[in-house]
């Protein structure tokens, strides 16, 4: 993602006239939801915290998967 962004900026003119911008992703939103649920669980029930940790793990896995294919 970031390397691509950097390449898009600096390696001008782009190869074959292409500029690759990072693709849309839902994982940042899911990850933030997970972090928030961890804290919400402290206030309410540990079940929310467990769900939060699982969401963070899921988001990181998805995020890294996207990084590898960009």
């Amino acid at each position: 993602m970031t390397v691509d962004t950097e390449r898009a900026r600096h390696d001008q003119p782009p190869e074959h006239g292409e500029i690759h911008l990072p693709s849309p992703s839902a994982w940042p939103c899911v990850c933030a939801g997970g972090i928030t649920l961890v804290f919400f669980g402290i206030l309410t029930s540990f079940v929310f915290s467990v769900v939060g940790v699982l969401l963070i793990a899921l988001a990181l896995a998805g995020w890294i998967g996207e990084l590898r294919h960009e």
């Binding site: 390397v3 950097e6 003119p13 292409e18 693709s23 939103c29 933030a32 972090i35 804290f39």
Partner: protein, 781 residues
Amino acid sequence: MSTVAETFPERAALHPGRLTRDVPPGGLLDWFTTVDHKKIGIMYLVTSAVFFALAGLEALLMRIQLSQPRAEFLGPGAYNALFTMHGTTMIFLAVMPWLLGFANFIVPLQIGARDMAFPKLNALSYWLFLFGGLLLYFSFPAGVPPDVGWFAYAPLTERPYAMNQAVDYWNLGLLTSSIGTILTGVNLIATVAKLREPGMSPFQMPIFTWMSLVTGFLIIWCMPALTAAQVMLLFDRYLGADFFRVTEGGDAVFWQHLFWFFGHPEVYILALPAFGVVSEVIPVFSRQPIFGYKVVVFSGIAIAFYGFLVWAHHMFTVGLGMVGDAFFGASTMIIAVPTGVKIFSWLGTMWGGRIRFTTAMLFAVAVIGNFTIGGISGVHFAMFPIDWQTTDTYYVVAHFHYVVMGASLFGIFAATYYWFPKITGRLLDERLGKWNFWLIFVGGTLTFFPMHFVGLMGMPRRVYTYPDLPGWGSINLLVTIGAFVQLVGVLVFLWNIYVSLRRGERAGDNPWQAFTLEWATTSPPPAYNFDTLPPIRGERPLWDLEHPDEAVKGHDGKGDFKPGDPAGPSAAPPGRSSDAAYHAQSGHATARWFEHLSVPVFGTLTFISSEVFFFGALIVAYILYRATTNGGPGPEDLDVRTTALFSVALFASSGTIIMGERRLARGDLRGFQTWLLATIVLGTIFILGQVNEYRLLYQEGVTIDLSPFTSAFYTLTGFHGFHVVIGLVALAIIAGLSFAGDYRHGKRLAAVESVALYWHFVDLVWVVVFSVVYLWTLVGA
């Protein structure tokens, strides 16, 4: 005005022949998945405006209650909740993210970049801000809105005084959004440092970009102090720790130190971007370059630097002693110098200029006046005998509202009128804009200026009602009327946005004939931001483009520049334009050490510098409390020898990861994997050793709630252990990916380098922690 492509046809070749990006999902889902800095910027702006409306509503309810003596519109509990939520919301969820929203949208455009350095991290930051705000506001339906003030002084926030969860909603809501804000700071710094148009030297960057950069540093270095304080408070409330429990030997004043170490730089986080806006708007509408470009830049840096040395002026009534009072009084007076310099720079820019009083300019000029008033009353507080008399009165409320409302919020209005055409493609209506300005200006003055008088008369802040003393009732009525005039002004503002979005005049690329790169593209800009970029020969590339001869003269001090204006000579010589640099990555003449770093490595280093402040706060807490054992076990009871043994494993792991990196650089993937696994094993040995130490200590009854010493010991070593675990997870991911075939042929090495750097940092922290916690006990033993 000629376009960039017309003037420099060869640069039209930079037009992307084809844009590759996965097709974004349409509609609402697009906003959930976007990583485009412009869309995220708009999300920040809209969300901040909603929180601003909520905080404004809370203020109006308070003003209804205070409009007359002994009113019974609100009870004391409701009033406490309203002033807490008003302050917290305005600072953390409205003004700060509003300015960061503009930074998100505008900074990459101003430096000719295509996005932020870490677009997905940018999205994560936004969602953390939003969810943190929602968590804070969930306290209302939960029936426990926070009621301890925006700085939540201990020991009022401790269990015996705050039994319900109000404090916890405040604590955890802000903790969530603060993590996002720190990541935004890292992103801003990495973007400006690494993604700048190669032909743009630091002293050719627009002032708003400069101030956003400085704000980024303020954020990453001051916010960890708040985060650390909030973690301590959380542990006090949930684990029975004793950080701020006075009855158990804790120190309530320590909260104040940590909070204001964050809190005062926070004022500049709110002010500097607004100063950046003013420094963009005034030159454009005076048709002059900024007077004293470098002076404006360096005064911003000086404000940020001194901002870290003045925090205890919020604490003069604590009783710091004469030396403390004198130091913080003097440092506070010194900080008035660079802020005063900015005022003169803005006045100098307008002097002799062809001034156009657009709405943006009106708001910017009002910032100068308002900030002068707020700044002068700020200097009053530097004289601590005056502070002793006026503390916790409406004089303080008047002062900081002149700064945060009169400067920061007026700066936001100026920014909105100035950049709305760029963001939406349509101009805001100027006639409604004038109504907007005058209503806000008159309403704001009516609200906040009389507060000085009622404050000097002795009216305390944060009290839900007041007796009918001479003058108090009439002044308070005036203040309330002013607040409602502001409400009308805000409604006109919202109406203006609504009608302008529907049928506002088309803006074109550069409706203000402005100078900086964001105006060198369409309004709104395309997803990839720029087709072409003009050469950068000064801090006003678009003006230079329009006036090639004048620009050269200007650099000689004969044209539009003023004699002696440092802006001229600082401009790059024409030979070093962006044309050449744009085609050759090595074309950057002034190579700095960080320019050789990849973006992820630079970002990791920036984040590590933030972590230094977090651990710094925990280490200070440990040093403060190491002798406060309440007669129980102390540092000398720790097992230094065993800890030293498993510490060796951690120290050795820095060596093994270096070996792994060397193998990878040589293309020896198997060797890399072997050393990486060795690092993981050594890190795991350390963690197991620490877990065993905790187990033995707990068996002996040494628990976190025993004394301030045990609280500080477990928090410091525990957070270090938590960082080791995160490092181990990152190493395990790297190892897994390498076995899956990644990192062959030198690909994605930046990820390995970033994780290795983080691991070294975790080791280095343990060198300090081990010395302070364990080795110290051997001194004098």
